[in-house]
Homo-oligomer: 352 residues x 2
């Protein structure tokens, strides 16, 4: 089996999860887990097959928020795989399932845990797997970004300026790793007093400012609602326990925006296969169109190729291998030595 077909096979086996969404903040305490779990519940209400992965090694709080979950079990058909727990009908795996003790997790162990989650769990068919991303911009975050084929990231911030500083760093890191940012949601935006007056307890406008700065959609404001924190503490589903709350209304707006974002991701998606050593093929509206490697390399976005003159490019350049980058791009290794170019599907479509 050639290297290339191995990659293609991996691509197929992973394709049972249509999209992986990271819910991330770069910072703790902004309500990232709250957003992840309520977004999952809302997307499920909308008919999507949703999975939830709590990747917060140092403070997994999702298990507390979803306590009905049974333990993950071994897959009887494939003993090397784990079947996730099921909570509120959502397949769910948390770091908390594997370490009950307060403990110091050195970075290499945390990295190994992440790999196990991504490769060792049989999620089944999912429209979207939501990863509750750990806070910070360190080892674990980087491992997750490198190992998980993340389609896009939903960023969570509070209105406060000092909070947005950390969130900005995480957004820069996602950008550097070429992972698209679906948008920014602002949590703890305000408190709605009994007279429906908005009281801004942590300042104003941090979320919108970040979205504007990074030119990504603003996905909505979640108010401070005692019902949200009570549901989390009791392990109830907010949507069932407090269906009329302002929190539920706000999460519904977020869910709708994320549905649009997912539709956009699917629209941007593209099936790519090898035609021969000198051509790739892409499927556009049911038709396979060939792209010459020479033509593709002309548009290589990597720093080295971008500086090279066109006439110096090898017209006989051939394909060594290609691999998926999330669900939005492929990385191509050419016989010319260039191995770093990441080609967004949108670019490949314009070339076809």
């Amino acid at each position: 089996m050639s290297h290339l077909s191995v990659i293609q096979e991996q691509q197929e086996s992973k394709s049972k999860i249509a999209h992986i969404l990271a819910v991330a903040a770069g910072k703790g305490g902004v309500g990232k887990s709250t957003v992840a779990v309520n977004l999952a519940l809302d997307l499920k209400r909308r008919g999507l097959k949703v999975g939830l992965l709590d990747a917060d090694v140092y403070g997994p709080s999702l298990e507390q928020m979803l306590p009905e979950g049974m333990e993950p079990v071994e897959d009887s058909e494939n003993p090397e795989k784990l079947l996730p727990a099921l909570t509120f009908g959502i397949p769910f795996i948390s770091v908390a399932h594997f370490k009950k003790e307060a403990s110091i997790v050195r970075a290499p162990i945390a990295n190994a845990l992440m790999e196990q989650f991504l490769e060792g769990v049989e999620w089944g068919e999912l429209d979207v797997l939501i990863i509750d991303f750990p806070p910070g911009t360190g080892d674990i975050q980087l491992t997750l970004m490198q190992k998980a084929p993340i389609s896009a990231a939903v960023m969570v911030t509070t209105p406060q300026k000092v909070a947005t500083l950390d969130v900005r760093k995480a957004m820069q890191l996602f950008q550097n790793m070429h992972i698209p940012i679906m948008g920014v949601v602002e949590n703890m935006s305000h408190y709605l007093d009994p007279n429906d007056v908005k009281i801004c307890l942590f300042g104003e406008g941090g979320g919108k400012a970040l979205a504007k700065e990074f030119k990504v959609p603003f996905l909505g404001e979640i108010p401070i609602d005692p019902a949200i924190s009570a549901s989390a503490d009791k392990g109830e589903a907010l949507f069932e326990a407090h269906p009329e709350s302002v929190g539920v209304k706000a999460f519904s707006v977020l869910g709708e925006k994320v549905m649009e974002g997912i539709a956009q991701l699917s629209k941007n998606s593209l099936t790519v296969r090898q035609k021969d050593s000198f051509h790739l093929e892409v499927e556009i509206e049911g038709e396979w169109k060939a792209l010459s490697l020479h033509e593709i390399q002309k548009n290589c976005p990597c720093a080295r190729c971008a500086q090279r003159e066109e006439k110096k490019l090898d017209p006989e350049v051939s394909l060594l291998e290609f691999s998926p980058v999330g669900r939005y791009a492929i990385r191509i290794a050419f016989s010319s030595g260039c191995k770093q170019g990441i080609y967004p599907f949108s670019l490949l479509k314009t070339l076809a």
Copy 2:
């Protein structure tokens, strides 16, 4: 120079900082940095010489909160040392002073940064150095606990149950590392509406419950006060910008409790020196009292010695070395092979 005298010399050079206080949460976003900076400002108002170390590698927010600070500079008398910045009259060093870029900090680099802060900065004489501890219970936290002679930890939580889960883990880690916990402060306890009605936005009682569980003092409640977050965002001192705010009143209560805690730590402090190979001496009310090593080892709290029968202890046991553990204990290495026993000063006093 013998190993022992090297240790004693280190003890003397470090003794210019009377106490190091960790302000920690195990979790981000509970307002740990806000508590650290306002506690520092309040202790300064009370006449203490205070320093502030922002050890939050992944999201240093203190620099934003104290933006008047000049950069740290090289010490002209000792080019190997850095002089801290000075903000609101408080000597101050932050990770942010050393890395301006959004960046991935792999664990070994973070650990090296921590060591540099502790050994490479000339703090001068301080009554208390406050360390704004990084969130989490991983590599950096462990390095700090092992390298910094921390006198005690002030724990910060919010009332919310899921928040206390992470704070509890950090408290267990401090306990495992034999660092005393001065108490628990609850941040974002409630919002005081214009009619002075307390509105509990994130539940109730998390801080008091933690304090009770760990049998440590409850140090007070800090309300959600828009003045606090506005001061942080603008880089103002809360005490100057909003002297009449409920936030200032709450931080004053915390400051008073921490003053009491520091007084208690100083009372528990003890000067220890070597008399000869078989005796240590401790200074109690100006008088030096001898303690035989044999007597001390009888009370060794380490797991191995605790299980050993008394008659099997060597009456001729001698001292290999001893080293300070924070300002509340010493670790003693005996000729018998036991090197792990940590002797709180309170225990040594009862033996004298």
